[in-house]
């Protein structure tokens, strides 16, 4: 009857429009595919690999793969969720993620995704890297201990704010980090403003507004109330 394009996601028919990625189509249909670096407002980055799915038996990132009619996509299988849990554990050991002392706790995508995937421990040996914080800016604190290298702040600053306050630089586990657009490397020496889109884009607790702590008590925050897989249709912060 209709010429609606569909593919199968865990056995369920998902409609899509040409050019949509698997992730975009799934989101539009209200189906949760775990992800960290993807944001509906921005082009896919494809770095976190949480959204890895199996397309016709082959692994691929659902945020970058275009949907094709008739394809068969596995999403929440035990095999894929196992891999995702391992990837989450990698994030938790490479950074310093001490949730009890983090203002983002309860509103944090990394944490909520780890709950969703039942990550009970970091499993691997902790790296405990030394990542200094940048408290130079009058309104914003940068705590790089929690950075997951998603680049959303880079993209938001460039594409929405037109500022290029951030860039990803360096290489590998020791080098890769956010570079700040000033010779001092300090945020205070940039034109960053608390009203920038980039100030509210961070999915974890790196970019925090100063003098705003625990306005919503722990236990009543975004993901405390409802698990992340039930918030697919709601706008992401």
């Amino acid at each position: 009857m209709s010429n609606e394009l569909t593919f199968q996601l865990d056995g369920e028919d998902i409609s899509f429009t040409p050019g949509q990625t698997i992730m975009q189509a799934a989101k539009a249909a209200g189906v949760y595919i775990p992800h960290l670096c993807w944001h509906p407002d921005f082009p896919a980055h494809g770095s976190c690999k949480l959204c890895t799915v199996k397309v016709n038996g082959r692994f691929g990132s659902s945020c970058t793969m275009e949907a094709q009619a008739g394809m068969s996509v596995e999403n929440r299988t035990a095999e894929l969720d196992d891999k995702r849990r391992t990837l989450l554990q990698m994030f938790f050991v490479e950074g310093n993620h001490f949730c009890p002392s983090c203002e983002k706790s309860g509103n944090c995508t990394l944490q909520a995704t780890a709950y969703e995937l039942k990550m009970m421990s970091p499993h691997f040996d902790m790296f405990y890297p030394d990542r200094p914080v940048d408290a130079s800016h009058p309104d914003i604190l940068l705590d790089f201990n929690r950075c997951i290298m998603c680049s959303l702040c880079v993209t938001a600053s460039r594409e929405v704010d037109g500022k290029n306050v951030f860039a990803m630089g360096g290489r590998g586990i020791l080098g890769r980090r956010i570079h700040i657009n000033s010779e001092s490397g300090k945020l205070a020496d940039t034109d960053f403003a608390v009203t920038d889109r980039a100030a509210s884009i961070c999915p974890v607790g790196v970019i925090l507004v100063k003098r705003k702590g625990f306005a919503v008590p722990i236990g009543e925050r975004q993901y405390d109330k409802t698990p992340i897989n039930e918030q697919v249709k709601e706008p992401t912060a």
């Binding site: 009890p100 983090c102 421990s121 902790m126």
Partner: protein
């Protein structure tokens, strides 16, 4: 709440449970006590071995060991090994046991600098030098979660884990089920 005891055979032997706090704040133990009157039900099923509740100093053979806190000194390592040797099931309870938690926030500092500043150079303290009494356990260069030293069977996150999560874990284990925590009980904060 689940009541596995209803299904348990009357003559079932009481399970032995030991608990301890290593580099922790006893907050997980306090949360444990927050199971309130359910502790009476628990006592019908278990008997406590080494634990702050019993004040028994060394752990004998046990079915279950609950470890709060991470490893910040040599004594923590000895106690952890005693638990691992004696407990069939070992559970890491709370953030510190699982990822080092608050004490591990010292890990980006050099221990030598810490000791020097705390005991020798900081103004307003008595300069008795760095304590070196053999009775005192030496601190480790870094704080570690317990799974980096012994095999851990289950993890119960939270700072502290809510009483209901502790209760869920215990009742699951006592009933022979793999412990699971649903939304609301699973917390890292």
């Amino acid at each position: 709440m689940n009541a596995p005891m209803n299904a348990a055979p009357v003559a079932a032997k009481k399970l032995k449970v030991a608990t301890t706090s290593l580099a922790g704040c006893f907050g997980c133990h306090m949360s444990f006590l927050d199971i309130d009157e359910r502790i009476l039900k628990l006592l019908e099923l278990v008997e406590f071995d080494r634990s702050p509740i019993t004040d028994i100093k060394h752990c004998g053979p046990c079915d279950l060991g609950l470890i709060e806190g991470g490893l910040c000194n040599a004594e923590n390592v000895h106690v952890l090994r005693e638990f691992r040797k004696n407990c069939k099931i070992l559970v890491a309870v709370g953030a510190c046991a699982i990822n080092g938690g608050l004490p591990a926030q010292r890990n980006h500092l050099d221990l030598r600098d810490i000791l020097e500043e705390v005991y020798q150079t900081e103004a307003g303290i008595s300069h008795g030098g760095i304590p070196n009494d053999p009775e005192l356990p030496l601190p480790l260069n870094q704080v570690h979660p317990i799974h980096e030293v012994v095999k851990v069977d289950y993890f119960l996150p939270g700072c502290p884990p809510p009483a209901d999560a502790i209760w869920k874990l215990l009742t699951d284990l006592l009933a022979g089920r793999t412990p699971t925590l649903g939304h609301g009980l699973m917390h890292y904060d």
